[in-house]
């Protein structure tokens, strides 16, 4: 009789071989204490966090925490229900209002995670005989939503306006089409040429969704995302986002101006068939979103931090995935799996936490150490991070240019 787990043997063996080289396990880390958005105790060691997507440092904002505590006292620990049954509290309405205000849209729909927002939108918006056209480097939640629905799925080469145009041109003119883009691609930290891509999508009569998971809070005059900075707000039909990065808690959303948008609350299965977010979470999210709208100084400091880390690591001879700091993600290229794990492990022992990424999550089989900056990183912390990268490269035997 076959053991259903046998199919995972290659993965189990790969992990065992990696750990046998003596590195810390990059996928089994515990944050023992968290002191601030940028500092934690990890493996008993004081550690600078530079891989948490906590871009705007809202997790410890005193107003945000106070709002969460108050909601916990007033509304209890959880809703025990779906948004369409007993799970819509005052706080869920308020966070949707905060989103509408932040994005300047007429509709906002809050999901329990960003993953589910993408799952729901992709699986529901395009049906049999319709098309989803997505960037090859799209997030797993977008791919999974496509797999869940019945539309025909067409991929185009990452960030290639020409390839998108060519593929859209081959589809039946009258068929419904949804083009899926991301503002910031989180693996390499590169941004999409949204002005050109959205224009091409509109030329072919497609609707457009932009996932701004890694752009919310610090791109564009109001911090709406890369699509705002690119000036294409009027041509974007849906924006998907998450509370798990700049907002500093957990949850996902879609905002739109489409007059029929509200019907999605009835037909989107990942919205209907799961419990809604706890009252404390939506209260923290609403407070955080209202503050993000006016966080101009924080935005500026976050950009300064990103540029400083990018140029600092580059000057020390590290290879970075982008020529300049295009976003708050700085992805450092590593020569291979073992070197990447050794470097990650050395950084942990020096008290720096970064994000390790490897295939299949990364494009083109790359091994990456991804840094994500925070508006709360002090300039001195960025200097320390750069110094420790250099020390770790020496310990791990990574050649620098």
């Amino acid at each position: 009789m076959g053991d259903l787990f046998d199919k995972f043997d290659p993965i189990i063996a790969e992990k065992a071989a990696l750990l046998a080289t003596g590195v810390n396990d990059p996928f089994n880390l515990v944050m023992e204490k968290v002191h601030s958005p940028t500092e934690a105790t990890v493996n008993g060691r004081e550690t600078i966090l530079v891989g948490t997507y906590n871009y705007m440092g809202m997790t410890f904002d005193p107003d945000v925490i106070a709002a969460g505590k108050e909601a916990l006292d007033q509304y209890g620990a959880g809703t025990t229900g779906s948004r369409v049954l007993n799970g819509t509290y005052q706080g869920h309405r308020e966070v949707e209002e905060a989103l509408k205000d932040f994005y300047g849209t007429s509709h906002a729909m809050v999901f329990s995670t960003g993953y589910q927002a993408n799952l729901g939108l992709m699986a529901t918006m395009a049906a049999r005989g319709e098309y989803i056209i997505l960037d090859a480097d799209s997030h797993a939640s977008i791919y999974d939503g496509c797999a869940m629905g019945n539309a025909d799925i067409v991929r185009f080469r990452h960030n290639s306006v020409e390839d998108l145009d060519k593929r859209l041109g081959r589809l039946p003119a009258e068929a419904g089409k949804l083009v899926v883009l991301e503002g910031v691609y989180s693996m390499l930290g590169d941004i999409a040429p949204l002005k050109e891509m959205v224009a091409v999508a509109k030329k072919h009569g497609a609707m457009v969704v932009v996932d701004e998971a890694h752009g919310m809070g610090f791109f564009g005059p109001n911090g709406r995302g890369v699509y705002e900075a690119a000036g294409v707000e009027a041509d974007v039909d849906f924006v998907v986002g998450t509370f798990s990065k700049s907002v500093g808690t957990v949850g996902g959303f879609v905002v739109s101006n489409h007059p029929k948008f509200e019907v999605l609350r009835l037909v989107c299965r990942p919205y209907v068939f799961t419990a809604s977010l706890p009252p404390s979470v939506v209260a923290t999210a609403a407070t955080s979103i209202r503050k993000l709208k006016h966080a101009h100084n924080k935005r500026q400091h976050l950009w300064e931090n990103s540029r400083k880390l990018h140029s600092g690591l580059k000057a020390k001879g590290f290879k970075i995935a982008t020529e300049t700091a295009e976003s708050a993600i700085i992805a450092v290229l590593m020569p291979g799996q073992e070197a990447c794990a050794r470097m990650w492990s050395a950084l942990i022992e020096l008290g720096v936490y970064v994000n390790m990424a490897r295939p299949p999550a990364t494009p083109a089989g790359m091994f990456l150490l991804r840094c994500s900056l925070c508006a709360e990183h002090r300039v001195e912390q960025v200097d320390i991070i750069i110094d420790r990268f250099v020390q770790a490269a020496e310990i791990a035997g990574i050649p620098l240019d």
Partner: protein, 82 residues
């Protein structure tokens, strides 16, 4: 010129040959996963090349059903003449 399975099959073999790292003999029954062991990036390039050759779209969701070169030829023929 009308494309049929018989014209498409040799063309596909021509496009697949550069990816045939184990230098096996390609037939209509050659399997992408077990014989050619193509990774997902290579598959994406191959699909793009086939799409460009026939000026068609091969939706991603069709691919899991296409196990062999012969099945792929049938699918391309159906789309081209569809």
């Amino acid at each position: 010129m009308a494309h049929t399975r018989d014209t498409i099959l040799p063309k596909l073999m021509e496009l697949i040959e550069p990816l045939n790292r184990k230098a096996i003999t390609l037939t209509a029954d050659t399997s992408f996963a077990s014989d050619l062991e193509l990774d997902s990036l290579t598959v994406m390039d191959l699909v793009a090349n086939i799409e460009d050759e026939y000026d068609i779209i091969l939706p991603m969701n069709l691919l899991p059903e296409l196990e062999t070169i012969g099945q792929l030829a049938d699918a391309v023929a159906k789309i081209v003449n569809g």
